[in-house]
């Protein structure tokens, strides 16, 4: 998988930033002509992950870029925070489980909405979630 095309980065701190992340990701998804359904899935996943940062991580950053692999193009979004980290990842990915006031669909739901999902977390260090949605 190689990076290509435009790279964008923005901080995530507030609810307003969650809206801006959605717009940023949608712009990239439209540029590589993801289908409307795939755009919607990716933007929704990005919204969940950005909100997770505001709710649990305190603040963080998202990086969005275009990637290619085997002739396909995809949008990769990487969400990184230096918050508390996740102690029990398996539990955090379980639908309906939440450590806060949420529905517990954010992380597991986001994983279902994208093609590639990778999470790197360590208690006390922070969490980085990377998602990719490929064109078909």
């Amino acid at each position: 998988m190689t990076g290509a095309g435009s790279v964008a980065q923005m901080p995530i701190r507030t609810g307003d930033d969650v809206v801006r992340v959605r717009q940023l990701v949608r712009g990239h998804a439209q540029a590589v002509r993801l289908s409307l359904v795939d755009q919607t899935k990716l933007v929704t996943a990005a919204s969940e992950l950005a909100r997770n940062i505001v709710t649990y991580g305190g603040s963080g950053v998202v990086r969005v870029d275009t990637v290619t692999s085997n002739g396909r193009t995809g949008i990769r979004a990487t969400f990184a925070d230096s918050g508390p980290g996740i102690a029990d990842l398996q539990l955090a990915l379980t639908d309906g489980w939440t450590s806060g006031a949420g529905l517990g669909l954010g992380l597991g739901g986001a994983r279902r909405l994208v093609d590639d999902f990778d999470i790197d977390t360590e208690v006390g260090r922070g969490t980085t979630v990377t998602v990719v949605k490929w064109t078909r």
Binding site: V37, T44, G109
Partner: protein, 142 residues
């Protein structure tokens, strides 16, 4: 923060979401709606989301709580105009919007509310309706 306008249309309140809302605006909408339902005595709420490009778990949950809240205040909520891509995404996300009535467009949504209001009118006039009988303290339940 954006504030979503609430319009009154006969016996119903109409909310048309036209912009990408941040979480605070969605919470404010819920509070504004509760106040307007009580102030106007509206029997129904229609939320038009035909311009909404994404509904994530937060917004979806808020629709469900608006529906539950309005029911407690004796009003029905209908969410209308959901885009197909939004519906597909919501289901895959794991959000079924249980307890939320939906209709394909505004006209069908208003028809649902009219139907509910008509049925409610008939029940109110029914002489056999238990609720209309005077309550005798200490009397055994029928």
């Amino acid at each position: 923060m954006e504030r979503v306008p609430i319009l009154q249309l006969g016996n119903a309140l109409l909310v048309s979401i036209q912009v990408d809302l941040q979480d605070d605006s969605v919470v404010a909408l819920q509070e504004d709606l509760a106040e307007r339902i009580v102030a106007t005595g509206a029997a129904g709420v229609v939320i038009d989301i035909s311009a909404v490009e994404i509904v994530d778990s937060f917004t979806g949950r808020m629709f469900a709580s608006i529906a539950a809240l309005s029911r407690v205040l004796d009003a029905e909520t209908v969410v209308v105009g959901m885009r197909p891509a939004v519906a597909i995404t919501l289901v895959e996300l794991g959000l079924s919007l249980e307890g939320v009535r939906t209709a394909l467009d505004l006209e069908k949504g208003m028809a649902i509310l009219d139907g509910l209001a008509a049925r409610r009118g008939i029940e109110d006039q029914d002489p056999d309706d238990n609720a209309e009988r005077p309550v005798t303290p200490g009397a055994p339940a029928p």
